[in-house]
């Protein structure tokens, strides 16, 4: 599902409510038939959020960042899985470099490696294409397609038109 709308129309606010960071002033957000605020641990284990702030520590390397992220996500993981995920997003050979020495696009790729390394059903993505180069956009598109083919769900905002295989629901906020 793609959320569209002008600047300030509330796209980010909506996504933050959907992922449980903000509270709706009215109504409830349900996941598998239950309010997410009553089943936080369960919901958070099935949902991954990629916001404007990537949650990447600039003093730590990609590898160190992902280790902490995966430990927080409560998935058992092997070191090799992290390296595979980093290789898939094109960061092979840059695992040990502190994130501050990487470009904005490469940091975005670390965040994508996080989504890959901990498989969740629902991806909530706020402007996932910003800062990415042409190959990065193609990569993200193919990762999204693979995720959807595996039966995953994604809610994303983007100013760019997105073409994906399969159905894409578009919601416009005004």
């Amino acid at each position: 599902m793609q959320i569209q709308g002008a600047n300030g129309s509330g796209k980010t606010s909506l996504l933050r409510i959907l992922c449980g960071l903000s509270y709706p002033s009215d109504g409830e957000v349900h996941w598998r038939g239950r309010d997410i605020q009553t089943q936080r641990a369960h919901y958070f284990s099935e949902m991954a959020y990629l916001g404007h702030c990537l949650g990447i520590k600039s003093e730590l390397s990609a590898l160190e960042n992902l280790r902490v992220n995966l430990a927080l996500a409560d998935v058992g993981f092997e070191e090799v899985e992290i390296e595979n995920a980093l290789a898939r997003v094109g960061l092979a050979g840059r695992e040990e470099i502190p994130a501050r020495a990487l470009s904005a696009g490469q940091k975005q790729r670390i965040a994508w490696a996080r989504l890959l390394a901990c498989p969740t059903t629902l991806w909530i993505l706020d402007e996932p294409f910003t800062a990415l180069d042409v190959s990065g956009v193609a990569l993200v598109r193919s990762l999204l397609e693979q995720h959807l083919e595996r039966g995953g769900m994604a809610v994303l905002t983007s100013h760019q038109p997105i073409e994906l295989r399969g159905d894409l629901v578009r919601v416009t906020l005004s």
Partner: protein, 225 residues
């Protein structure tokens, strides 16, 4: 290691690594502590009797201010780079995760004061039995300062200039710790028993360890939303 212990360990390790990669910030509160105490003999009077009398208060006030001074960064950078959001969206109980952060904060800001305090106590001519009480009160008191302070930081992290508000929120809660701790050290210097004050500080620490993590977690959710 997996599950909650793994997450606790990973977060603790990350914060310690980050602290050691910013050694300047690490040394700042300690230098502050050292400076306040060493400036007293210069500023007030080098007279031994007077120094001995004011020593417990001086060291404890310096420790309290240094703790307050070091708190600001507890959640600030995490808030700015989005790491805090990811922590809030973790499948693990937030109260346990914040405890890892507070523990890391205490290990780098509180624990070194425990080692520095006996030296400063000698500098201020404190008797030996009072030094034992001083270290004991700091051992119980500084984690308490970190835990109470973390609630204040969690409440003010969303504000651009939360510094003044943080001081106003936290200072009244620090006062009982200060009173019991300095009272214990003064009593020990006079050769009186101090177990009452020590037990009270220990009880306060247990209370804070039980209740503060939940309060910090709730405050963070409000601040980030």
């Amino acid at each position: 290691m997996s599950g909650l212990t793994g997450a606790f360990h990973a977060l603790l390790k990350r914060d310690l690594v980050l602290a050691f990669r910013h050694r300047g910030e690490l040394a700042n509160p300690l230098l502050f502590f050292l400076m306040i105490v060493t400036l007293y003999p210069l500023g007030v009077s080098p007279e031994v009797e007077l120094l001995r009398r004011i020593a417990p208060g001086v060291i404890w006030i310096a420790a309290l201010l240094a703790a307050l001074f070091s708190l600001e960064n507890l959640f600030r950078t995490d808030f700015e780079d989005g790491a805090l959001e990811q922590m809030l969206l973790s499948a693990h109980p937030l109260a346990v995760l914040v405890l890892a952060k507070v523990l890391a904060h205490w290990l780098v800001s509180g624990l070194p004061m425990l080692f520095l305090a006996p030296l400063l106590a000698l500098l201020l001519a404190m008797p030996e039995r009072a030094i034992v009480a001083l270290v004991l009160t700091l051992g119980l008191g500084t984690p308490l300062l970190s835990l109470i302070g973390a609630i204040g930081v969690a409440l003010t992290v969303g504000l651009r200039r939360g510094g003044v508000l943080l001081t106003l929120l936290v200072m009244p809660l620090y006062i009982p710790v200060l009173i019991f701790a300095t009272n214990a050290v003064t009593a020990a210097a006079a050769g009186m028993p101090v177990s009452g004050q020590i037990y009270f500080l220990a009880a306060l620490l247990v209370l804070a360890l039980t209740l503060a993590p939940a309060a910090i977690a709730a405050a963070l959710r409000i601040s980030v939303s």
